[in-house]
Every structure is written in C-alpha cells, then in structure tokens.
C-alpha cells in the first residue's frame, strides 16, 4: 500500500492554502471540485491521507459572476508571485487576436512549491441543460487572455455545496459522482496520457467512473446507508437543475457504470486509477469495488429508474 511522502500535504492543508490565496471578497464565489474536494471531505487533516492531486479545480459560481471573479483572482494571485503554468501542453496566455478555442485555461502555480496548481473553471450558465459540450468564456487579465471552461453537468457541483472554515465552498461527493456518471453514458475512447496514472494511457471514462466508485466507497465507509441518501440527493438535484429533463437523465445515470462493470479490462483500469488516486492510502481491490458498484446500482441508481 503506498504511503504518503513526508513532504506531501494533507487535503485540509492544501484547501487552506488555496482559500487563503483567494481574495476574501471572491471566496464565496469559489466551489472547489475534484480530488481536493473529495480528499478534504473524507480525509481532512489526516496525515496518513495526503493527496497526490496536481490540479486543484476551482469553479466560479454563479456563472454570471464567474468571469469577473476569475479575473480578480488571477490578477491577485499573479501579483502575489503565483505564476502561469506553462509546462508541456499548457501554453502562453493569448491576446485579443487569439480565438477563444486557442486560449489557454487559467492554470496558476503557487510560489515556492510544485506539488499542485490551481485551475479555474466556470459554473455552466442558466441556459445549460446538461449537454456534454465544453463551453469557453474569455477572461481578460493584465497578464493576457485566458479561457474559463465549463461542462454541462458541472452545474451539479453547485447544488447545495458544503462550506470550509475559510469561506470557500466545495462540491458534495455525491454531486461530483452524479456529474461523472452523466458525463459518461458509455466508455468512450478519449484517453488521458499525462502520466499521472503511469506510462500507459488511461481512458478518461475509466478514470472518471473509477472516481465515482472511490467516492461511493469512501461514503460507505462513513455510512452504510449512504447510497440510499445519494439517491434522494440526486433526485432533488436533477429535478431542481434540469426539471424538463430530470426523468430522462435519471434513466441513463447507470449506463456508463453498467458498461464499466461489463468490461473486465475497463473495470481493472478504473480500479488502478482509484488505487493511485483517492484510495491511494488504502488497500482496496477489484472485489471490494465491485461490491461498491453493486450497492451503487441497487441503492442509488435503480430507485431513480423505477
């Protein structure tokens, strides 16, 4: 079982660093999503559960205020010696002539450490009905132009987020799980080749659906009835955010997961991403995550399809 390195930070430490770096006036507009949100929720300040996440995803909400808040945060951080992340595929900021789809996303590194960087995103607009398309909004800063991206189901992270003691909020685990499930109704061919999960490319769907299983597993650690509570929370979120499409969305929540469970190779890849990610400090094998998947299907997903 991999153990955290001594110099790794706990999720609470990273969350505190991120929150304190954000101007106080903007903190209530920030919802942390992804692995930091999950790590903070489940592990907090547990020294044995340091996280390996490189990208800390900060979503600005509501959509109408996202561009303005993102500009203010970017300029404040750059003034405080944060730097634009330029390595690898991450390019230079654009200018007024750069087309939106060629602008880099806002990725900022804090000074004097290389463990993680902050990536800014936007909550989808009110007109978003949960379609899978990626939308880009231009953010003009003194350092150049960037893009703020949003995805259809990212809006679910805005549903009744949880608060931290430092004023920023973070997405509920069940809402991140729901967004991932809806985002992958099948095991698509898109891959991640960043090296985080080792030299072999990993299917994005396997990584995201693996995250769903990890979130479910950790929730069940805390509460044996967690999946039933997820179901109720999902019903509430879908009928609130997508009242016209809620029934349709509920019917397809489990499709990707069923695909994953039907493919031994994909399932094993999902398990591998979990053991390198959120479940890194735990010794969780495929049998345990299969049991989790069955509980997820029977107690969270099936009640919504009936």
């Amino acid at each position: 079982m991999p153990r955290p390195d001594n110099n790794e930070l706990t999720p609470a430490q990273v969350m505190e660093q991120v929150a304190r770096a954000i101007p106080e006036a903007c903190r209530s507009n920030v919802i942390i999503i992804g692995s930091l949100a999950a790590g903070y929720h489940f592990f907090g300040n547990d020294q044995s559960k340091a996280i390996r996440t490189k990208d800390v995803d900060a979503m600005f909400s509501p959509h109408a205020m996202a561009t303005g808040a993102a500009r203010e945060v970017t300029e404040t951080l750059l003034a405080a010696d944060w730097t634009v992340r330029r390595e690898g595929e991450f390019g230079e900021p654009g200018d007024a002539n750069t087309p939106d789809d060629q602008l880099p996303l806002v990725r900022l590194k804090p000074p004097h450490q290389a463990q993680w960087f902050l990536e800014l995103m936007s909550a989808p607009g009110a007109d978003s009905d949960g379609e899978l398309i990626k939308k880009l909004d231009r953010v003009e800063t003194q350092a150049g132009h960037f893009a703020l991206c949003s995805f259809g189901f990212l809006g679910l992270a805005e549903h009744v987020p949880l608060t931290t003691e430092w004023g920023v909020r973070y997405a509920r685990p069940e809402m991140m799980a729901l967004a991932n499930l809806l985002h992958h109704p099948t095991i698509g061919t898109a891959i991640i080749s960043g090296g985080f999960f080792g030299p072999t490319p990993v299917k994005r769907a396997n990584k995201d659906l693996g995250r769903v299983l990890a979130l479910a597993y950790l929730s069940l650690e805390q509460d044996r009835d967690a999946m039933e509570k997820w179901s109720e929370a999902w019903r509430d979120a879908l009928t609130t955010r997508y009242p016209q499409r809620a029934a349709d969305l509920m019917a397809r929540i489990g499709l990707g997961l069923l695909d994953l469970m039907g493919s031994r190779d994909d399932f094993n890849e999902a398990v591998r991403t979990c053991s390198l990610g959120l479940l890194r400090s735990m010794d969780i094998g495929p049998d345990a995550l299969e049991a989790t998947a069955r509980r997820l299907l029977a107690e969270a997903i099936e009640p919504l399809t009936q």
């Binding site: 597993y217 069940l220 650690e221 044996r224 009835d225 969780i284 094998g285 049998d287 345990a288 995550l289 299969e290 049991a291 989790t292 069955r294 509980r295 299907l297 029977a298 107690e299």
Partner: protein, 371 residues
C-alpha cells in the same frame, strides 16, 4: 436425503459386517446409495460445503465397516475443478485416521450425472453407478421427501420444550411428514436410550431432555442442512440487525430471523454483545429457493457457500418447517431450536449451551413429572 438407512441391528449388513457393529455404531446415519462394498454420497454444488459434510459422514460410517468397504462422494457440479476437489480430499485425508483416509474418494459429474470424472485407480464401472445415483438423488430432491428421523427428533424436542405433553404418534407423522416406519424407527431409537415414555393411547412424550442424542442430532442436522452463505468483499455490509430490519420490505416470502438476532427474542440474556452474522431461515421446495431478496438487504454481498465467516447465512429448510416460524411485531423469527442450530453452526457453543440450559430449566420448572 435418506435412501439407505444403516439399521442399528445391522439387518442391511452382511454377517461379516455385523462383527464390526458396536455400541458406538452411528444409528441415525445414512448414505445416498450403496453399490457392493461402496458407500456413496452425492453432494450438490456450487460450493464444497455440502461435500465436506458428506465426506465426514462417510468417514464416520467407514469407521464401523469392514476394511474392504470404501466410500465415494460425488459432487454433481461442473463448477468445481478436479484440482479443487483433490485438494479438498487431501485436506480431509490429513485430518482423519490414515486407515479411513485411504478408503475415502471423490468424484465429479455434471448436474445430470453425466461426464463422471473418477480417480484413475477406481473401477470404471463406478461411472455408471454414479450417474444413476446422481439422478436418483436429484429425483428424490425434486419429490421433496418427507420428514426424516432427524425431523422426528426435532419435533419431539420442540414439543417437550413447549411443554405440550404427550403426542399421538399419528400426529407426529402428520406434522413431520414422515412415513410410519421412519417415525417408528426414530421413536424406537429414543425408547432404547430410555428417554421416551410411551403411553397406552399410542402417544409418546420425552421423559426429559435427551442430552446424549442432542449432540448427534446437531451434527447430523448441520451436515444435512443446506445453507446459502454470503460474504462481503468490501467490509461495508450492514450490521445483522440492520439487515434484519429491512427483511419485511425486501421480500413477501416467509423468511424468519434466526441465529443470534433470533435467539435474543427467545433468550434476551444471550451472552453475545454483537451478532457476527445474520442468520435467516427460508422454507422452500428443494431447488426452488428464491434468494433475490438478499440483494435488497445488501447488494454488495456475494454468495460463497464455502465461506468460513459469512456475514449472512440463509438456512434452506423443507417447506413444512415454516410452521415453526413465530411472528413477533410483524417480523418472523425462527423457533429456539432453529436459532440454536445456527448458533452451533457459528461455533458459538457456550452461548448456545447457556440458551439450551435456560430452555430446559424453564421447561422443567413448568412441567409435571412423567413416567
């Protein structure tokens, strides 16, 4: 299933065999079939638990047979590999006396009795015998056989614990669903041990708790019993009492709560702080058990009938035994005897014995002396 009963008087044995009869001869033991000097048992899959019990039964029987008598246990399941089967036999041979161990053998066939795989050293004529024995056993299961001597004994114990007084033999026969010879043999057995009081009106009553026969009954009952065992690969299973609380919503079948959770209904002083597993009883026709409700208790569980430490054990009982279920506050509970069988299966011997002694004390306090 009892196709060939080893009679206490040795009437089915040869003269030579009878010299091996002794006071220790197991009286209530049987095998599925006999062929020449071969005793044969048929175990059903998919796990090996049924086979383990039958191998042990054969080992006990062999101990009372001449040295040329051999025993073959066949598992009628293609899911068990030959290697696993041989490993099982090797393990069994390690823990029993060498002279018995080498007379024990295993075989495998498919469910219909075809494709018999035997150890190479065994006579090939056994294949045909095995095929017939598997079919016979399957037919017997389908016919839902009536009660056995074990059931007669259990019925008498239940009646005695409930202080029901003398019972007519014909009522025992009716309640247990056993033939007259089966009931008569069972009663005769108890009479010989001096624990049965026969009255002139063809009724009988136990004189007291049959302590000598009790452990033998427990062993034989647990060996004959089919239990569907479930494990939890993720260690997230609901606690036994939480699963029990979901039972009435999970199924409309009569499923009774047994084991520790059930025993606490009958014996609140049971000295167990938390139940290691949930035991349930379902009365069903053989092969027709519907266990789909387990998924509603906890969808993460996986069936593994060989599991030593399951989190859920569903005892599959003959259909007639649902009469023993007791309804309390909208839930069904197994009767004390059934709960104790589950406690012994979990090896919770001390609490089970305390419960038994409590039941005996209660009965003796309320009962009038007989005989």
């Amino acid at each position: 299933m009892s196709l060939t009963i080893h009679q206490p008087d040795g009437s089915k044995s040869s003269k030579r065999q009878s010299t091996y009869q002794s006071a220790l001869k197991p009286n209530v033991r049987w095998v599925d079939s006999q062929w020449g000097t071969w005793l044969m048992e048929i175990a059903s899959g998919p796990g090996l638990r049924d086979m383990q019990g039958k191998l042990m039964n054969l080992a006990v029987l062999l101990d009372h047979e001449p040295p040329d008598v051999q025993a073959l246990c066949t598992i009628a399941s293609e899911k068990v590999t030959q290697e696993r089967l041989q490993n099982e036999l090797a393990q069994m041979r390690q823990v029993i006396r060498p002279d018995l161990a080498m007379r024990l053998h295993v075989a495998r066939s498919d469910k219909s009795g075809e494709n018999v795989l035997l150890e190479p050293s065994l006579p090939s004529a056994l294949k045909e015998v095995v095929t017939k024995a598997v079919r016979k056993a399957a037919n017997a299961r389908r016919r839902s056989p009536g009660g056995t001597q074990l059931d007669v004994f259990a019925y008498l114990i239940r009646s005695w614990l409930a202080d029901k007084g003398p019972i007519l033999v014909k009522d025992i026969q009716k309640a247990v669903g056993a033939s007259h010879p089966t009931v008569a043999a069972g009663l005769e057995q108890l009479k010989k041990q001096g624990v049965l009081h026969r009255l002139s009106d063809r009724s009988v009553e136990l004189k007291g708790f049959p302590r000598d026969e009790w452990p033998r009954w427990l062993l034989a009952t647990s060996q004959a019993r089919k239990i569907a065992r479930y494990v939890d690969p993720s260690r997230h299973a609901r606690a036994p009492h939480e699963m029990a609380a979901r039972l009435s919503k999970a199924t409309k079948q009569n499923v009774a709560i047994s084991g520790v959770v059930g025993a606490l209904q009958h014996f609140p002083d049971l000295d167990i702080t938390s139940a290691p597993r949930l035991d349930l009883c379902i009365a069903t026709e053989p092969g027709r058990e519907d266990l789909a409700f387990v998924r509603k208790l906890d969808a993460g569980l996986v069936r593994d009938d060989d599991a030593p430490y399951p989190v859920l054990a569903v005892h599959l009982l003959p259909l007639r035994l649902d009469k023993q279920f007791v309804e309390i506050d909208g839930s069904f509970f197994a009767d004390p005897l059934e709960c104790m069988v589950a406690l012994y299966d979990m090896k919770l011997y001390e609490p089970a014995n305390e419960m038994l002694e409590d039941l005996i004390r209660r009965q003796e306090k309320s009962a009038k002396p007989v005989g």
